[in-house]
Symmetry: C4
Subunit: 229 residues, 4 copies
């Protein structure tokens, strides 16, 4: 079972360079097995072209390393808090993908300007504040997770499977690592087109609510009809 | 005959990833056989790297599925309305190609700033309005087609083989699926260069009419002399 | 001898897709043999991936086709006027490369903002005006050449081997087709960086004259010391 | 020993085209052996796809050529001054990578807008002034090095391993040629995201100091915990 999990997480990690979402080691994917509560994650600072399935690190939800010769990603405590607070997710991704990171650096959420965005994410993709000095000094990566969790406490984290951390970069999630990477690709495309559309029309407004609803619910929920049943 | 049509539509669809016009499954090509009134179209939500000619779905102009194991693209009713109203076209393309989609999100038509544009498309590439809530709720994809058709009712759809749907993305057409893809590539290049030229000179004006005429008619109509007759 | 010329021109043409300077057939390279006065040029509208050395068309400086099964590029009369007026050039290139074309559409010459530009081109790369309706209607491509020639009549065409035609795109030249393509690549890089540097600093000024001189003369003329003598 | 140095420098040079940091021959890497005081550097103006380890030129810190059939890079005197003044560096890179060069042409240092920057470089990446006419005319490349050295005389050149030369382009350094190239890649990514984030939010401010500190010291110094110890 752990072998399968490591293989799935390895393959999801290898999609990051495939979709041009990472430079060097600037990204990581994890996936959880909800029965055991174990999750696998990329080791810290290991090059993508040297990575093997066996290099993945197995962690539990208390932050203990269960298996693996390497240190887990330094962002592991953030992944862990998301798994704890969002019971329906099975995978988490962090990258420094350039367009999403540019919005994070700009300190702005990404408005929903069109159906590409609405097909996957319902409404604005939020940008959460920087941590305070105290939050940074005590437990930076864990507090990053808690801040995201706090933002979503009265919101639907399944309908908006992405967040920007101010001056840092994006996290995305999904039902498994593969879907979380899929959402990271969508986020990067949406971030690129939103920046360009503001350049083309500085007075642009978000797409009408009824169009956002149509596209989101064409793909999600009981009445979805996109794809093969 | 249907085999040939499916093969042609498959090949035209595979040009979309080749020319970097699609991410994931965000695009589709169809082509019609005017004798039978049947058209072939990409199945909904199937990955490009798994697609085969046999996966194409055959439809008639009443919207009935004639052949195929999959559901057709969810945009099928839009393609259908274009085939009904534009008797001289044989192929239709829809994508979310990033530059054209950025203009669509910005809600602006693309002015003709140069000869690259004028070589293929005569005058501004229009951006049609969003559908109303009622139009969306009754028959979204069909009404998208009807809106495009209405816009062109007193215009030459052969001279401007492309349209942007506000907050959504582009549709292009041509004498077959291959030419419709060709026009989708042109549109993306033209959209990119128009955005950049406004960045370089915010006061830029469209190209002089006589230059637009020269380039369009150098390639189209009785006096064309570009290419090998 | 003609075989060699055709081969050289074929190879120079194939550099255009290699360096991402062309979409479809939007570009052409020619090269002249000054002894016979014959030049070879790409045929009009033939795809780059079907091109062979034997498809090149041989022309003389009166505009007569000497050899070749195809029509020459529709831009042939422009190339011809440049060869006539600029005795020291041996190759000419026309493309619609996106950044250079964006400047041409914007109607602006490219200021010399740095040493990348100064290493190859001395001072601003000019943008010549649109042709008048009469100039277009009589002999569009020939008049495009004459307009460029007129602009350079009191300038050094070797020191600035590139020009932008307003609302159209760039022409570059060099001692042969290969060098003309090299200059087309430089132009595209310089056009890209100039647009971005104006975005980063809208008040940017051209590089100091002494720095432009240093870099240009480090690579050109009697005191050049760049490269392997 | 020289063979090993030449091989290392050759391999570091070949990373420049791999990471899309150079067009043609617009870049060079060197690496020094501190015991002998010899450094190897790319020859001037030789194409990357023709380069071999044996083409590298060996120099001493007085500027004498020790070995090699070619002339060294014309930027050799700049590398030399950096090696003399910065005893802890082992490799130097110069490129005209497009985003970093656009900032250099704009005459602006790159503010630290986020953690991608802070992970590698501590604070703003400076842009040093143009040389005066006299500095250019006497010893341009050597004076470029001296200007950089002067800027860093009261700063930590290890914490900011990059500089922009106004109207010219970037230099980066590191413990060897490979790390210097790594820093050149980081610089280009950081330059790209900083430009885009100013486009998305023209009022953007640098990242809070405590966040910059956290990320820099997570990877550097006694308390670093990123990676595999």
């Amino acid at each position: 079972m752990l072998e399968e999990l490591k293989k799935a997480v390895y393959e999801a990690n290898m999609l990051l360079p495939k979709y041009n979402l990472v430079t060097f080691t600037w990204g990581n994917v994890s996936q959880i097995d909800r029965e055991t509560g174990y999750f696998a994650i990329k080791p810290s600072g290991v090059d993508y072209d040297k990575l093997t399935p066996d290099d993945m690190v197995i962690m539990d939800l208390e932050g203990n390393k269960i298996e693996g010769r390497y240190n887990p990603s330094s962002d592991t405590p953030t992944h862990l808090e998301l798994y704890r607070a969002f019971p329906k997710i099975g995978g988490v991704v962090h990258t420094h993908s350039p367009w999403a990171t540019s919005w994070a650096q700009a300190g702005r959420g990404i408005p929903c300007y069109g159906t590409t965005h609405a097909d996957y994410m319902y409404g604005e993709i939020p940008c959460v504040r920087c941590l305070t000095k105290e939050e940074i000094d005590t437990a930076y990566e864990k507090n990053t997770g808690l801040l995201i969790v706090d933002y979503f406490k009265d919101k639907d984290y399944e309908a908006v499977p992405a967040v920007l951390c101010k001056n840092h970069g994006p996290f995305t999630w999904g039902k498994d690592g593969h879907e979380a990477v899929h959402n990271a690709v969508v986020l990067e495309e949406v971030a690129k087109m939103a920046a360009r559309c503001e350049m083309i029309n500085p007075q642009v407004k978000p797409a009408p609510q009824e169009l956002q609803d149509k596209h989101y619910y064409r793909k999600h929920g009981a009445n979805a009809y996109y794809g093969q049943k």
